[in-house]
């Protein structure tokens, strides 16, 4: 073999599936994928969910999740085919030569053990370092990764550090045994944008300083463009395109890659405010029961009929709490909500059927927002019965109309949620909200759990439906690209306060306040060298101050 660190030849991976009403059977989920990683290089694996990215990443450690089995091909690591290795050899490979960084460090750290014990465990177990040496190496890595108090952070338990810090600890865990290859599986996807940029930089510097090779798995092409040397584009277990990062980003050959590169192409002209807003949130202050601080502080925003107000902020900024107050799930301690020319009762019990009908909601997780034992027809038909008393043929006719509106059609009426894709599930949820003929819909992170191309389709659908139904959206999101695509006005929230509010163009034009500036500059852009540019700018600014 050549001196390639990792060489994958015609890799085929199968899985056992358990479809409802059928016998369990094996299917192939990765159909012959080949690639190579040289020492010190980073290969980005990119694709949507179901593309087989994580499965391929784990296969480089000879590991299959659940019922996943490697059915064919070769995986060479350091000159030996690990698919033909003995059980003991594979164990020596894992945690020694190849290590893994998962998407959710919060779930991947054992809650009952100290961080340090978990970070050095593999290095000590594999005999690479003594406990003492491994610990000093871990402290060194903590420092390199920019963790606060690197000497002592290892003595903490996972729940005692923040999500971004834990993700960096996970990187330290992977780098501690001095591996030859690290598999990064969506390491920044679960983080806020402003945290993501720090972790991304830390990972990039760690890769550069240690000379380790990496597989970097993500669905976000803009992120992978910052850290990779080569990119492999995958779709449904097939290789679509394989090339250098420059070639993939700047001159993609395949249509699918072009679509990924040009995603978020929606143009939406900002509408002017009307004299009479449909929703007026006035001086809202709210706190959760049993706590002693306000999660919302004196919030004032307006939403106009047929328009979209985007509420944007990071986790913990209070944007979902605002939705809870407006829907009456969390009674505010101060202030009022005016909706369609009337004052809404503070709590849900005091609202009448008309209030409930005119104010609908769509959630982030479409799977759990639907009863898995009801058909699509029953799910969409329920509000028709409840609010309009429709029965029988009339109801069916209206359900079919709604299914047509969400571009799915009559064929889906008797299907169950489990038989739908993620995007289709979210469409059914949209139809259910529309069935009530609402004046306003609160959309809470409705595209966050979806792949970029699917999310794009949902956003386009929402914009089209807004034109037809003249419905207003309160659109809660952490994703600024989404905001740019669909908003008429924007409220930026930070720690329970609205720090910037106005029409889309105004909010997104300088001069910015510090937080909005940080937020906007943290959104990864699909161009090479973006990460270095941002970091350099920030260093310059802090040096200037």
């Amino acid at each position: 073999m050549s001196d390639n660190l990792l060489k994958v030849r015609d890799l085929k991976i199968g899985a056992t599936v358990y479809p409802p009403g059928e016998k369990p059977h094996d299917i192939e989920i990765v159909h012959g994928v080949s690639f190579e990683v040289e020492k010190g290089n980073v290969l980005g694996l990119i694709g949507e969910s179901g593309a087989g990215k994580s499965t391929i990443g784990l296969a480089s450690m000879a590991y299959g999740r659940g019922g996943v089995k490697i059915t064919g091909g070769e995986v060479w690591v350091n000159g030996r085919d690990i698919l033909k290795s003995t059980h003991a050899d594979v164990r020596a490979l894992r945690g020694g030569e190849v290590t893994y960084v998962s998407q959710s460090a919060a779930a991947s750290f054992n809650p009952a053990k100290k961080i340090m014990d978990q970070v050095i465990e593999a290095a000590v177990f594999q005999g690479k370092f003594s406990k003492h040496d491994a610990e000093s190496r871990a402290v060194e890595l903590f420092r390199k990764l920019g963790l606060p108090d690197p000497e002592n952070i290892g003595n903490r338990y996972p729940h005692q550090v923040s999500g971004g810090q834990l993700q960096r600890c996970m990187t330290a865990l992977a780098l501690c045994p001095e591996p030859d290859l690290v598999v990064f599986d969506e390491p920044t996807t679960a983080l806020d944008v402003t945290t993501q940029i720090d972790v991304l930089m830390a990972i990039k510097e760690a890769i550069r300083d240690t000379g380790v090779a990496a597989l970097y798995i993500t669905h976000d092409l803009a992120v992978v463009a910052q850290v990779s040397d080569d990119i492999l584009v995958l779709k449904m277990g097939d290789m679509v395109e394989y090339g250098t990062v420059d070639q993939i980003i700047n001159s993609p050959k395949e249509d699918y890659t072009k679509a990924l590169v040009s995603v978020r192409s929606i143009e939406h002209e900002e509408k002017t405010p009307t004299p009479e807003p449909i929703l007026k949130v006035q001086n809202i202050t709210a706190r959760y029961k049993g706590t002693n601080f306000d999660v919302l502080k004196n919030i004032n925003v307006e939403l106009h009929p047929g328009q979209t107000l985007a509420v944007v902020g990071e986790s913990g900024s209070g944007k979902s709490t605002l939705a809870r107050v407006i829907t009456g799930l969390l009674p505010q301690s101060n202030g009022g909500v005016r909706f369609a020319g009337r004052d809404l009762s503070r709590d849900l019990g005091g609202r009448d059927k008309e209030d409930l009908r005119e104010l609908q909601m769509i959630y982030q997780m479409a799977d759990v927002a639907m009863n898995p034992r009801q058909t699509v027809g029953t799910i969409i038909g329920r509000p028709l019965e409840l609010y309009f008393g429709l029965r029988g043929g009339e109801k069916r006719k209206r359900i079919i109309e709604l299914l047509d509106e969400i571009e799915m059609g009559e064929g889906f009426i008797d299907r169950y949620p489990a038989e739908l894709s993620g995007g289709q599930k979210q469409r059914v949820c949209i139809a259910r909200a529309l069935a009530a003929k609402p004046k306003m819909i609160i959309c809470d992170e409705v595209t966050s759990a979806l792949d970029p191309l699917v999310a794009d389709g949902i956003l386009k659908l929402l914009l089209d439906l807004q034109k037809i139904e003249d419905v207003a959206y309160l659109f809660i999101t952490h994703d600024l690209a989404t905001v740019k695509a669909i908003a008429d006005s924007i409220a930026v929230m930070y720690q329970g306060e609205v720090v910037r509010y106005g029409g889309k163009t105004d909010v997104l034009s300088p001069p910015f306040d510090d937080y909005t500036d940080l937020l906007l500059s943290s959104v990864p852009e699909m161009k090479l060298g973006w990460l270095e540019e941002v970091i350099a700018n920030r260093k310059m600014e802090s040096a200037g101050n």
Binding site: R91, G95, N110, P111, E121, Q126, Y157, H159
Partner: protein, 318 residues
């Protein structure tokens, strides 16, 4: 630390409140029992005067609430009253028998709890393979058979045929620890079989549940051995459900061994209780009931406390 302390204090206070409520229930329960204590002491031929005298002496004419508080007041000073049938001090008679019951329960627990957890770990390590299925089958079979049947079979095989251990398990203070253990070896074995399955299955289920977690995958990808993963990563996170079942079974070893004690004529609480129920000796029944309740509540409280302490979020707050 303050939240942990508060939770623990709450749990302990709740335990005492519960015990107090149980004492009311026990007292009320024995009062509404049919039959007349005085009648049962003196027999069918007693004269009305004699019955009235004995009722007055025993305080049976006082209103129930007053009698309850007299009883409770005595309890708080360690006075469980005197047995109606023998006139002996109940605390004294129970003390020794409670000691015997706890002795049997202790040794049964010492063997069954580690054994159950070990079998649970082995079942997880070889899940869906023959060791797992064998362990499940044997332990399930052993709880499905009534315990007195197991006891008699054990006596027949171990004591009568093999002559390894006695079938009558009377122990006394003059025996050494070794002699005592030899004497009660069959009841220990039978009790172990009875409680094993429940604890083993709960250990297996709790650990298998934890084995689904992402951090187990992390451990697997560190190249650790399966048994190391189960022991070091899964077990510490399964403590809460396992300890609850362990404590329930330990409580059963103390309060549920009536049948075993009778079969082996072991001088413990169970036999003492059964004897006095049949004699309608209300103060003894009340005292036994309360002690059993206290053991039950106490062990469950220990389970709660261990579960709370096992939670790293409570032990090490932010």
């Amino acid at each position: 630390m303050s939240l942990l302390f508060k939770l623990l204090a709450q749990r302990i206070a709740l335990g005492f409140l519960l015990l107090f409520l149980v004492s009311i229930l026990i007292f009320a329960g024995t009062i509404i029992l049919p039959g007349d204590v005085a009648q049962s002491i003196l027999g069918q031929s007693a004269t009305p005067e004699a019955l009235a005298n004995i009722r007055r002496d025993l305080g049976l004419n006082d209103p129930p609430v007053q009698r309850y508080f007299n009883w409770l007041g005595g309890l708080l000073q360690g006075d469980l009253g005197t047995a109606l049938t023998s006139g002996k001090d109940i605390a004294e008679s129970i003390g020794k028998r409670l000691g015997n019951t706890l002795f049997l329960a202790f040794w049964a627990a010492i063997i069954s709890v580690p054994l159950a957890i070990l079998l649970g770990l082995i079942a997880v390590r070889y899940r869906e393979r023959w060791p797992d299925k064998l362990i499940s089958a044997v332990t399930l079979a052993s709880i499905s058979v009534p315990e007195f049947l197991i006891a008699y079979v054990a006596i027949f095989v171990i004591s009568v045929r093999l002559r390894w251990a006695p079938s009558v398990t009377t122990i006394n203070d003059s025996m050494s620890l070794g002699e005592k253990l030899h004497t009660i070896s069959i009841p220990i074995a039978v009790l172990t079989l009875v409680v094993l399955a429940h604890m083993m299955r709960m250990t297996r289920a709790a650990i298998l549940n934890v084995m689904q977690s992402a951090y187990i995958e992390t451990a697997e990808l560190k190249g650790l051995r399966m048994f190391t993963i189960i022991w070091k990563h899964a077990l510490p996170n399964s403590v809460a459900p396992v300890i609850n079942v362990v404590m329930l079974n330990m409580a059963y070893l103390v309060v549920g061994v009536v049948v075993i004690e009778v079969v082996f004529t072991y001088p413990g609480m169970g036999q003492y209780l059964v004897d006095h129920v049949s004699k309608r000796d209300i103060p003894v029944v009340q005292a036994c009931g309360l002690i059993f309740a206290a053991v039950y509540i106490g062990l469950n409280m220990v389970a709660d406390i261990v579960s709370i302490i096992a939670n790293p979020r409570l032990r090490h707050p932010k």
